[in-house]
């Protein structure tokens, strides 16, 4: 592939959230619910 033929990789726009982002969101929602006292005790 010559230099001219090389095209820059422009990161594709993702539709919606990634798995990472959803996982972070769920963790924050759970942390907020625990902080708000909705979940007082989580058994293990």
């Amino acid at each position: 592939m010559s230099q001219q033929e090389q095209t820059a990789v422009t990161p594709a726009k993702q539709r919606g959230f990634s798995v990472d982002a959803w996982a972070v969101l769920l963790a924050f929602v759970l942390a907020a619910l625990v902080r708000a006292g909705v979940f007082k005790h989580i058994p293990w």
Binding site: M1, S2, Q6, T7, A8, V9, T10, P11, S18, V19, D20, A21, W22, A23, V24, L26, A27, F28, L30, A31, V34, R35, F39, K40, H41, I42, P43, W44
Partner: protein
């Protein structure tokens, strides 16, 4: 010029997508919970009947049940979408685990880990590249194996595949080799750790440095002890944080040889490859340090993190099918296996040296 009709992409209904994962998530929960029940009851039963039986932790029970299902009857189609969510639970679990670390400890431990991770990445990439050439593997397959064993397993291989225009076949070889070796690490690492009497701290750092896939690193750590599991996740998270830089370096290398597309916006490239759950982990840790959560609330978050990991461990067993992995060819597996043994020995040496410096 004629026109070509492209197939219409039908939007997926989010409610339908949610329903598709429910059976598999329930299966993960059932296996994880069965692991907990077995841990609690098998030991008691053996003791009551005066049998000598090793104390097997829920982590190993969950993995073994998953392996038994996957390698005998297989995972039925209805459960597969849900079983594939195990990585989602892993990441949510890591973010919640941040509540168990004070930010100062994260920076102290993460700083020490970062130095070890830097050395590990350079040595692992150099050695895997040498091995790949010695065994006559395709150069891009060698790159994928090097990234997989140096940084973070499957995620790194997938990220690199896109950046260096590697073949699907090469990436599936590399992923199969890394997954098979990760499954072996689950059983060998705790055994070696106990044999040479490694402390929880030293073992956790070693598992985080040497086990490639994050789920397996977390499981290998938890199989040793709770404290080792925490340290393994922290060290592995430090490794994960560097994924963007390594992938970028490979993208530059292959683009300079005219065999991959050039990288446009480097900052955006790094941001896209950066695992966002690392930021979530740091934020929860900062909130815990700022006393945003009470002691009881931190306990509740820690238990939520344990439940999320439980689903992950069940998924690790369920997605490991030895028959399918064995079909992927011997050469990439041999290169991966030799590389992993050398990297494990090298990182163990690093951990011993760090133990002296940091007095772990």
């Amino acid at each position: 010029m004629g026109t070509v009709a492209l197939p219409q992409v039908r939007p997926v209904n989010p409610a339908l997508q949610f329903l598709r994962v429910v059976p598999g998530v329930l299966l993960l929960a059932a296996i994880g919970y069965a692991g907990k029940l077995l841990e609690a009851n098998v030991g008691k039963y053996a003791k009551a009947h005066h049998w000598t039986f090793p104390n097997i932790e829920y982590v190993l029970w969950a993995i073994l049940i998953g392996l038994a299902i996957s390698n005998t009857v297989g995972v039925p189609e209805i459960f597969r979408a849900g079983v594939a969510t195990y990585e989602f639970w892993l990441k949510a679990g890591i973010v919640l685990l941040g509540a168990r670390f004070l930010l100062g400890d994260v920076l102290k431990l993460g700083g020490a880990s970062l130095a070890l991770v830097g050395i590990e990445i350079v040595v692992a990439i150099a050695f895997m590249t040498f091995l790949g050439r010695a065994f006559g593997l395709q150069p891009k397959l060698t790159s994928l194996l090097a990234v997989g064993s140096a940084v973070c397993g499957v995620s790194a291989i997938i990220a690199t595949k896109g950046a260096i225009d590697a073949d699907d076949e090469d990436s599936s070889f590399a992923i199969a080799a890394i997954l098979a070796l990760g499954a072996l690490a689950l059983f060998t690492f705790p055994l070696i750790g106990h044999t040479i009497h490694l402390s929880d701290h030293a073992y956790g750092v070693w598992a985080g440095l040497a086990v490639d896939n994050t789920a397996e690193a977390a499981a290998a750590g938890a199989l040793y002890s709770d404290a080792a599991g925490k340290l393994a996740v922290l060290t592995k998270t430090t490794r994960n944080a560097l994924i963007g830089f390594v992938v970028l370096a490979y993208a530059f290398y292959w683009a300079s040889r005219g065999q991959a597309q050039a990288v446009g916006n480097k900052a955006l490239f790094l941001w896209q490859k950066f695992p966002k759950f690392v930021l979530g982990f740091l934020l929860i840790s900062a909130l815990a340090t700022a006393a945003f959560f009470s002691k009881d609330q931190i306990g509740a978050l820690a238990n939520l993190s344990r439940w999320a990991f439980l689903l992950t461990f069940a998924g690790v067993g369920l997605r490991t099918n030895f028959k399918a992995l064995s079909k992927q060819g011997l050469k990439p597996f041999a290169v991966g296996a030799i590389g992993e043994v050398v990297i494990a020995a090298f990182t163990l040496g690093l951990v011993f040296a760090a133990q002296r410096v940091f007095h772990w």
